[in-house]
């Protein structure tokens, strides 16, 4: 699935809504999904790896479950679409990270915490380092077709070194 296309569609719909003044629930001006406490693992030196994770609390005040399906970097750090990831134990009990199938659930009337060792938004193929204290910007794609802008401050994190396992297993030998 091309997640960045969904974002574009949502932006288009939003623009249309503003132009026509319509109150389509998709573009409700009172968003039901909100993000707080967002931060990203700093990568001061790309030689140590060109990937990172973004963490946050996502709350859903609406009556429908929503999934975070992915996102887009708007900082100019990577061209690669951002992925919604989970960390799970594999057959041997080792903790590995992988694409969250269907996205990350933000339950109706509840919230989900993205944190090291758990759900996170994955950045691949960083083209620039991220220094401690930098603020990066990204857009999350939601399963209801809306998007949400996020500012995340970069912090030091040791750990979070779970092995990546592609969901289709295609990259494994």
């Amino acid at each position: 699935m091309k997640t960045h296309r969904m974002g574009a569609v949502a932006i288009f719909v939003a623009a249309l809504a503003v132009l026509t003044g319509c109150t389509n629930p998709v573009t409700n001006s009172e968003p039901t999904v909100t993000v707080t406490d967002a931060w990203v693992r700093a990568v001061p030196d790309l030689a140590e790896g060109d990937m990172t994770g973004v963490f946050m609390t996502i709350a859903n005040s609406g009556t429908e479950d929503v999934y975070v399906t992915g996102g887009t970097d708007t900082t100019g750090l990577t061209e690669t679409p951002l992925e919604a990831h989970e960390v799970v134990a594999d057959a041997s009990g080792e903790m590995v990270m992988q694409l969250a199938e269907g996205g990350i659930l933000v339950p109706a009337g509840g919230s989900v915490q993205l944190m090291p060792g758990g759900f996170h938004i994955m950045y691949w193929n960083l083209t620039k380092p991220i220094a401690v204290g930098d603020t990066i910007t990204l857009t999350l794609n939601l399963s209801d077709g809306t998007t949400i802008d996020v500012n995340a401050i970069a912090m030091t994190l040791d750990g979070g070194t779970e092995k990546y396992v592609p969901a289709n297993g295609g990259m494994e030998h």
Binding site: D37, W39, A42, P44, F55, T57, A59, V106, P107, G110, S111, V112, Q113, M115, P116, G118, F119, A131, V132, G133, D134, I153, A154, M155, T156, L157, D158
Partner: protein
């Protein structure tokens, strides 16, 4: 599942702190403290001591005017050789966010132990910049006036492991687990620019065990801090840098001296000898020429045999220069690290003095004490550091921004 952990609980606890908790905290302690505390214990709720919050943001950093907490730590770090103004600025942005969250009773964003981050117990986190920070970042010319390194004194037996330091994080809390967690978390937060140099842990009275307005006693049994500033006017005069101080306005300068006490020989003295060494009475804290703690000492008064009532060699006589500007805030913690190798008590004072100007206001007193003070027989300075404490910032700002962004 994940939605049932973290955020919901954190929010409800936070509501408690900022709602009933704070009201309970300040009012209960001041008025009928014991009744309120035992009631809340019986109700199975956090006590006022645990939920008390000290504001992090403001014109001055917290942890200085703040009444001394039961536990304190002075943690000093050595700046990496690769640190620059940009990397330090970035870390101070993050450190300010994390410190302000912890002081409000919220886990830090990157907190690895959020379960022990929700009992603030008057937590304060105060940042300081040492000579090394200014020098390594090429900011030597930005040091505030009077921020000098203390000369070495004849009485000093300084150890490098208790001296110096480029970056200071001073933490205080009435709860030792909160203190330990904040110390560890902040050390992680700044780890990209600095490595641990020293960590000096100290203590005062447990919260609620004495009237907080009472002058605290040191481990020699004497009141320490009788001459401290106690109102806005005297803090503005002695502690906070004035509006004409450029980026430093609202900041202060800190001298930390680790003073080992030879308590074993001290304990063998009689009360009269101890009082002569201090120049004050043990019980009341009054000068030997007075009745009450806050009576002005009369250094000219003589006894029938013609000697001054307050001996010329006594601590308060030597500390008194006669210049009214030579005053500063003392906010020390005690330490007790068990026995030294020779079996004597390894105890003493982490002396902390806050002044607008170390050179003009602190050094003259320190010089007189180093030249002669009978107390020097039982006390030995074994550590010494100076730090600039930058001004406070409003919410959204970061500590150090007046220096780094101007």
């Amino acid at each position: 599942m994940a939605s049932d952990t973290g955020p919901h609980k954190a929010i409800s606890r936070r509501d408690l702190f900022f709602g009933a908790g704070v009201a309970l905290g300040s009012a209960a302690i001041a008025a009928s403290g014991t009744a309120a505390i035992s009631n809340s214990v019986l109700a199975g709720k956090p006590t006022a001591i645990g939920t008390n919050v000290e504001p992090f943001f403001g014109p001055n950093q917290a942890g200085i005017r703040t009444a001394a907490q039961a536990h304190g730590v002075f943690a000093a770090y050595t700046l990496n050789d690769t640190a620059t103004v940009d990397t330090v600025r970035g870390v101070m942005r993050v450190a300010t966010i994390e410190a302000s969250r912890l002081c409000a009773g919220e886990p830090g964003l990157s907190d690895t132990d959020p379960t022990i981050a929700t009992v603030p117990a008057r937590l304060t986190i105060t940042f300081g910049f040492g000579h090394g920070l200014f020098d390594k970042l090429g900011l030597g010319s930005r040091k505030p006036e009077g921020f000098v390194q203390l000369p070495s004194f004849g009485i000093d037996e300084l150890r490098p492991e208790f001296s110096g330091g480029d970056l200071l994080i001073q933490i205080g809390s009435d709860d030792p687990i909160t203190l330990s967690h904040a110390h560890r978390h902040m050390t992680r937060v700044i780890s990209s620019i600095g490595n641990p140099h020293y960590s000096q842990r100290g203590f005062a009275r447990a919260s609620g065990s004495v009237n907080p307005d009472e002058t605290p006693r040191n481990l020699m049994g004497f009141k320490d801090g009788t001459e401290n500033p106690r109102n806005d006017e005297s803090f503005d005069e002695q502690v906070w840098a004035g509006v004409d101080s450029g980026w430093f306005a609202g900041g202060t300068q800190l001298v930390i001296r680790r003073i080992a006490m030879k308590l074993d020989p001290w304990d063998r003295l009689g009360p009269g000898d101890k009082e002569a060494a201090f120049g004050r009475q043990m019980v009341s804290g009054a000068p030997l020429t007075g009745e009450n703690e806050f009576d002005e000492p009369d250094f000219g008064a003589r006894n029938p045999s013609g000697l001054t009532v307050i001996p010329d060699f006594s601590h308060i006589r030597r500390a008194h220069t006669g210049d009214p500007t030579h005053r500063f805030l003392r906010r020390p913690f005690n330490y007790d690290d068990g026995f030294a190798e020779d079996g004597t008590a390894n105890v003493g004072l982490i002396f902390a003095a806050y002044t607008t100007d170390i050179e003009r206001r602190f050094l003259p007193v320190q010089k007189r004490l180093a030249e002669f003070d009978l107390l020097n027989v039982w006390t030995v300075p074994i550590g010494s550091s100076e730090f600039v404490i930058p001004p406070g910032v409003p919410a959204g700002g970061y500590i150090g921004q007046q220096l780094f962004d101007s």
